[in-house]
Each structure stands twice: as C-alpha cells, then as structure tokens.
Amino acid sequence: MSLPDHPKTAARPAGLSVRFHWIRRFREGWAIFRENLIGRIGLMLLGLFGLMALCSFIPPLIDPMYHPMTGVDPAISHSTGPSLKHWLGTDFIGRDIFSQLLAGARIAFMVGLSSALISILLGTTIGMIAGYAGRIADTLLMRLADMIMVMPTLLVVLILASLFGQLSIWTIVLLIALFRWPGVSRVIRAQTLTLKQRPFIEAARVAGASHTRIIFRHIMPNVLPLSLLYMTFRVTSAIIIEAALAFLGFGDPGTVSWGMMLQWVWKTGHMFQAPYWLLPPGICISLLTLSFFMLGRSMDEVLDPRLRKEDTNR
C-alpha cells in the first residue's frame, strides 16, 4: 500500500510550463486520458460509486425501515438473504443491507475526499514553505515530515482511538490527514526548489512581490497538478485506513461505513454464513480504492511529460 508515495514524479524535472494555460492543458490531458484504458475503467467505476452515494438518500424516503442506521424491518428480526424487499438481505436486527451499502458509499467518499483534501492542503503548503524558505524552516519541517512518515498510520490512529475513547468520523478524517501529508510535502518541496531557480520567480522577486504573493501566485499554480495527483492516492489510503479502523472496532459507531458493516458481520458471527452480507462491503472497499488508484495512475501518465516523450520528440 506504499505505492502512492513514490510514483516516478519524485524525480521529475520541472517540466511544467511557466505560464499556466489551464484550459489548454486540461484539454490535452483529457485527450490523453481518454485513450487510457485504466483511467477509463477507473472513472467509470468512480461514476458508479458516485451514483451510489447520491442514491443513498433515496431508500429512507421510500420507507423508514430502509434507514441504514435505525430502520428495521418490523417483520424480520434476524439476518436474511436477498429478497425483493431487501435486495441484498438484512443484517442481524433486520436493517436493509443495500441501503447500508449506499450510505457506506457516501461515507467513503466523504472520508476519502475530505481527508485527502486536508492532507494535500497541509502537504502542499508545508512543502512550498519548506522549499521556498529553506534553511531552518526547511530542516525543521522536513524532520517533522520524516518523523511522521515512519509512523504506521493505522497503528497510530488505532492507539489514539483506543486511548481517547471512540473517535468521531471527523476526528478520524483529521487524524488520517495529519499523518498522511509528509509524502506530499516532500514532492512539493522538491518541485518548489526547482521552481525557485526559474527566472520568472526571480523576476517576480525583483519586481517587489511579497513572499506570500510569490508562493501563492507563482509557485502554487505550478505545483497544483502534482498535488491533485497525490490527492487521488491519498483518497485510497484514507478509505482503507478508515475501513480497517472500523473493522477493528475503532470506527465511529454512529456512521454506517463499509468497514463498520464488515465489523457487524464479523462481530455478530455471520462472517462465514452470510455471504450476501460479507461480500458486498469488502468488494466495494476494494473497488472504490481501485478506481481512485486507477484514476491516479492514469493521471500520473497525463501529467508526466516524460511518459509521453516517445511519441513527440526524439
């Protein structure tokens, strides 16, 4: 699960154009992306899950018994297999597994995207500051990054969850983000270092631009695509960590996440006898992370000019 941290981007020369033509770049990227099989599959899967997340609001409207957390089928008091009324069956107190699965998609997106966003914001800002400021700030920030990087995130969050009682889903999101920024900041720092040498930064400095202005106006637009790329990888790791945490019983009990569903199957002893309950959440976790990962890999190819080298100039 390490891969996201070290795509070849780490060693990439600053091949990004000085002036950023967003639209043109986007069009170009999209053209390449469209021909990428893995990217297409990823995007398709992602669309599917997105649809699931959007639809998660519907079942409770149909009948309160489809409420993923509190709704129970009055006629059913134990786990039953798929039926017309419950497409994927019910769990041990008669809640509908399909509506739980839909709600799980929403939670997964929420956890994945928000924690990735926070870690990317942190990582990008810290990376830019470290790279731009240099000297002591750089050393301190990068040592801090080193320190956090050697911590196994899941175990650390598990320790915290266990020590401070149950964590709410937002605390978990925040914790994951806090432990997942160093990889990003390292790459962004390297990128900033090369950008710093470029003439247009020099020009801006001579023209009297403030440091904040240089960082946010001139450096940030150039490192942003890289950050976005890393975000897709962070999404996958955040989803996996949240699921593992919930599975081990340290998740937020007030949310219906896929990991939580697996924990319910596991802890109530239905693991090996209710495949209709065990398989869907596990497959969903794997497929959603897979789709983000595929998206990231194909974006990597879009963003990395070196991988396109072979068909334009030699």
């Binding site: 699960m1 390490s2 891969l3 941290d5 070290h6 795509p7 070849k8 099989l37 893995i38 599959i41 040592r143 080193d146 320190m147 990087m149 050697v150 911590m151 196994p152 995130t153 899941l154 175990l155 598990l158 320790i159 915290l160 266990s162 020590l163 401070f164 009682g165 996958t236 790791s237 996996i240 960590i241 699921a243 593992a244 599975f247 081990l248 697996l262 596991w266 693991m271 090996f272 065990l278 959440p281 596990g282 976790i285 794997s286 992370t289 897979l290 990962f293 595929m294 890999r297 070196r306 991988l307 080298k309 072979e310």
Partner: protein, 325 residues
Amino acid sequence: MELNKYILRRLIEITVIFFVILTVLFLLFRLAPGDPVSRMVDPSMTAEDARRLIEQLGLDQPLGTQYIIYLKSFFSGDLGISFHYGVPVLDIIGERLPNTILLFTTSVILAALTGIFFGKIASWHKGKKIDSWLTIGALICHTLFLPWLALIIIWFFGYRIGWFPLNGILSPEIWTDPANGFFIRMLDVLHHMALPLMTLFIIHFGSYLLVMRSSMLETLKEDYIITARAKGLEEKVIRNHHAAPNAALPVVTSVALSLAFSINGGALTETVFSWPGIGRELVFAVSNNDYPLALASFLLIAIVVLLANLLVDILYAWLDPRIRY
C-alpha cells in the same frame, strides 16, 4: 568519506527523532483517560485495592518523575514490566519478535522477488494483453481490503478445502509429542505460516509489481539499453542483464520506504491469524492499557523503520554509483 559523514548525520537525526517519538508517546499514554486498573470490572476490587495497585505500578508519581524513571531504566536496558503480563517487557518482545521477523521478511522477500519478476515481464510487453492483465491484477491485489481478504483466505484454504491450519503458529498436537523432531516441528510452523504469508504476499506483490513495471519502463529508455541493443545483444539478455538490475533498485527503496505502511498490514494480518507477533501484541497492549509494552513495541517498530530507511539509502548509494552524498 562523505558517506561516513552522511551516515553519522543521519544516525544523529534518527536518535533525535527516536527520542521525540518516545517522549510524545510516553506523554500520550500517561495523559490518556483510563489506566490498567480501571479496566478491571470486578466488584471484589475495592477503591483501596485500586489505589494500592496504582501506587505499586508507579502511576501515582508526578508525570515528570515517571518520565525520568522511565528514561533512566531505558538507558540501563530495562523497558519496564508489562502491566498486563507482569513480566519484563523485553521477555515478551523477545518471544514475539522472531515470529514477526519470520513472517514479515519472508513475505516481503517473496513478494519483492515475484513482483520484480512479473513487473519485468509486464513492462517488456508494454501495451500488450499480458501487460494489461498483469497491471490490472496487480492493481486489484494492491487495493484489496486486507482483513477481508484474510478472512476469505482462512475460510477457503483453511476450512473449505482445508489444506492449511486456520491460524496460530504451530499445532500443539505436534509440539507436545516428544517423538517429533526439530524438522517436523519446523515444517509445522511453515505449514501454519502459509496462509498469513499468502495474505501478506498478495497485498505486497501488487505494489512491487507496479513499482518494478514503471521503473523498468524508465530504465528501458536509458541510453545504455540502446547501447545494448545496438551491440546486437539478444532481447532476453538486454532485459535480464541490463535493464532488470537497474530497474530493481527503486523496488528495493520502495520496500523500505513503505515499511511503515506494510507494518500496518502486518499487524492486521497477525491479529486476524492470531500470529503471536509484535504487531498483534501492540494492538492488544494498547487496548489493555499496558503502557510499557505498547510503548516498547511501538518504539521497536519506529526504530526498525528508521534504520531500514537509513539502510536503504546507504545500500542504494552503494548499489547505484550515480548517487552521491
């Protein structure tokens, strides 16, 4: 001698980082709500009993004193006595560590070797069917949800077809029978190792394959590959002799850099398979409020990761002459 200086600098850094982690964790454990005594839900345990136990465990001292006492004994090689097991922490770690090393290193090495092998094949056939299948397969392996996978593996291989033991590290039936010699006993351990090994292998294999594949694709664009081709060497020789050794280096780095992440998976696997290793012990110790054991296990993991990172940097410098410090 630049390298020596570099190693020295890194060692100092590692020491500092290590003690920062130690301090943070120490504080975290002591400041967190709950203590080992409050967990005992037993009406026989009176408030006086609880107070006396707290005092005997040294938890009544001020935080600073506790910290200094811990540091003192730490430097004299004593990591304290486990609150839960009542035996020295080092004894427990000494018992559990070999198991973890056995399982973890075997899985990482096997996964790296196969990952490198198939990554090589995938990159060599870039854009062909075999590449697509290998890449998609690796992506799926890489993103499988580990505990889920582990349980399904247990069910299928341990129960459904029943080739392997369900969990644990050995069969008591074999080990309690004095007739069984060392070889049979080792075989028994390996037999038990099969399923956790398979789980960790599947999870790691995918990522190593992907790293190898992209690293190999980069390498294939290097000038010395064109040289090799121009020399009229056979394709197989170019692939195995010229490209692969260079491309494998990033895989080695990724093994070390991803160690922290792999350890997560290791702990999950140990927990699900009841493999008596450090990761499982850490999870237990944490939920039992066994601070000395949890702290020591975590520090052990941290120092291993730190040193592994250093080792790989050195190894990398040694293997790839283009890198200098």
